[in-house]
Structure formats: C-alpha cells, structure tokens
Symmetry: C3
Subunit: 138 residues, 3 copies
C-alpha cells in the first residue's frame, strides 16, 4: 500500500471565503502515483471546512447568507466561546459545511460526478491556515 501526505497552506484576506482546491488535490494525486484508493482531504483547523459542491458564484453567495442565518457572526456576546475569541460562529458554520471529504481514486483520477469540485471553506481568515491531503492505495 502506498501513502502520500501534503499540507496546502492558505492565508485568505477575508474572514469568510471559499477557494476551489480541486486542481491542487489532483496535483497531489499525480505526485502520489496511486491508481486505486482513497483521498482524505480535511481542514486542520476547527474554524474551516473542506467540502464538495458547485463552483458557481451565486451558490456561494447563497451559502454565505444561509450560514449567517443559521449561525450569525454577531452579536459576539451571544456565544460563551467568545470571551477572548470572536469566532464561535466559525466553529458552528464549519460544522454545517463539514470538516473533511473522502474521494475515491479510480484509474489514477478523482472519481467525481459531473459537477463535483473540492473547496476550502474559510470562516475565520486573515491568517495562515492549512488543509491536509492524505492518499492511500496502490
């Protein structure tokens, strides 16, 4: 069994932002040499997410509005976590979007449906954070 590991680093200028990382994960897959197996791709921070959805800006706007409705950023004092922090909402938003995705590898490619793309979802940005790509297989 082969295994491969890489960290992808981000430093996004906004508190909340989505970045399409599909091509970076595909590059990892090529480097790994794995033809049949699985990719785990997860946020290494508990205020960000890795998720799969559509690369469509209208939908990303809808996600932002919807997450703010489900888990509003402000007022900060509504959350007990926000003593010395102000990012409780980011923990909740990331919970809705998910920490990780597992993607099948078939014949050396990400085994995706027609519109599946992998995103890094940042909910507490303006600092260096990272995603783990771990690949196992043959």
């Amino acid at each position: 069994m082969k295994s491969y590991r890489k960290e992808l680093w981000f430093n996004l200028p906004n508190r909340r932002q989505f970045i399409n990382i599909t091509s970076q994960v595909e590059q990892c897959l090529r480097e790994s040499g794995v033809k049949e197996g699985m990719v785990l791709c997860n946020a290494m921070h508990i205020t960000s997410s890795v998720f799969i959805n559509d690369d469509e800006s209208g939908l990303h706007h809808d996600f932002e509005v919807w997450l703010e409705k489900l888990a509003p950023e402000k007022p900060y004092a509504q959350y007990h976590h926000n003593g010395s922090e102000d990012n409780a909402d980011a923990h909740l938003k990331r919970t809705v979007m998910g920490r990780e995705v597992v993607v099948a590898i078939t014949e050396g490619r990400l085994d995706f449906g027609p519109w599946e793309q992998i995103f890094y979802g940042e909910f507490d940005g303006k600092r260096r954070k990272r995603v783990l790509v771990k690949i196992i297989g043959d």
Copy 2:
C-alpha cells in the same frame, strides 16, 4: 490491496425522496470479496446525499419538514443560484445531510450498529442520478 467500484443509478419520481440502499451496498461488498477494509459511498451529484440513519417513515417525514424549515425550496428568487436553476435549496439540504458515508468492513460485512441503514437522499429528482460505491481492503 483489493479495490472495487460500482455506480448505483436512480431516477426518482419526486423532487425529494429517501431510498434505502443498504442491500445494494451489501451486494457490492459481496462482489468485491473484501473482508477487512472500508466502503466509501457518495452521491456523485451536488444536489443529493448519502447518509446513515433510521428506516422509519415518521422520521423521514420529520427530516423533510426540518430541511424545508432550514433551507426552504420557495420562493425561488430568494437564492442567487436560481437564475436559470431552481435547485439552490437542494444544494443546501444536501449539505446538512452530507455527501458521503464511510463504513467499516469487518469479516466481510458492513460493520454496523443495530439500526444503521444507508440512504440515498434525493433533493432535486425526476432525472437520472447516481451514487458511487468504492471499496478498498483485503
């Protein structure tokens, strides 16, 4: 390491519907010959879900009501994604329910607790869509 891949196809008559696919995944597992490993089962579409929960019709009704409260289908114009589309709510509902499940394989069986069943969750049906079953192990 063995690997196995199969697509399960669906064409559901309703916009939203849950289908128990446990026996189909078990059939895949038998075909794979894998005794120890993992099954990845994921929607290949970004408006549907694969999730694990109870096969109980009252609960499925509760999920429908709850998801409509969290991410209502209408009015369509509330979502920016709904220019030429009308399925923004399906992207959000699938996000709550999840894209994928990973299930342990032990002694050739899905290693489940007493009530765990795998469902395909459709949120934008009335057309052909599919689920990927990928199995790796020995």
Copy 3:
C-alpha cells in the same frame, strides 16, 4: 494491509453530553501498529455523533444552545417519529454534527492540526451506546 477494530462503550448520565475520546482513539492506534493509513471513527447509533472540534467548555455550551434552536427537543409531538419514541430531535442533532470522522495516520500518529480533538456527541443518553474505531493501513 493491517486492519484493527475496537468498540468504545459509553453510558452517559445526561440526555446530551460531549466526551473527548482522543486519547482512547490514540490508544487504539498504538494497539493497531499502523504507521501510515486512516482511522474511521463512527457512532454506531443513529442518535449520537463523532465529530472533531475544540475542547472548550464555552463552545460546547454554544453547541448545545445552537442545536436546541435548530432542532428543539420539545414539544415532543412536533415530530412524527415521536410515537413510542421521544428522540426525533436526537436524530436531527446528530445529522448536523455528523456520524463519523476519518483521520489520517502519519508516522504512527493521528495527523491533526493544533486544536483538533475527537468527541463522542450523545443526544439520547442514559443508556449503553458505542463508537466503532476501525483502522486500516501499513
């Protein structure tokens, strides 16, 4: 490929409660002898969760308040599932928090970011329930 399996049992005194199980999963990893691979850790019950977040009591309070807002326990009669049951809300809360996590194993350790911790999330406690730890790799 090596594989390892263990059940972790819980009997929590409260209906809802979070337990940090990271050290138990690390113990499983040591027992497995796996150096490179993946850990699947999942609730075996459909009214509980395994998730990764911060071990901070203020945040856990925020999760409790937030989940009660998204999927209130009472009134019981609001849910069709609650005929002979009273735990429909637990199925919904676990859906938000997630059934499972998959964690990379690198050089014999859980490959975690700085604050990642694994929790068992109970939403219908006061009885014996369990978590599955399945490890595959080399």
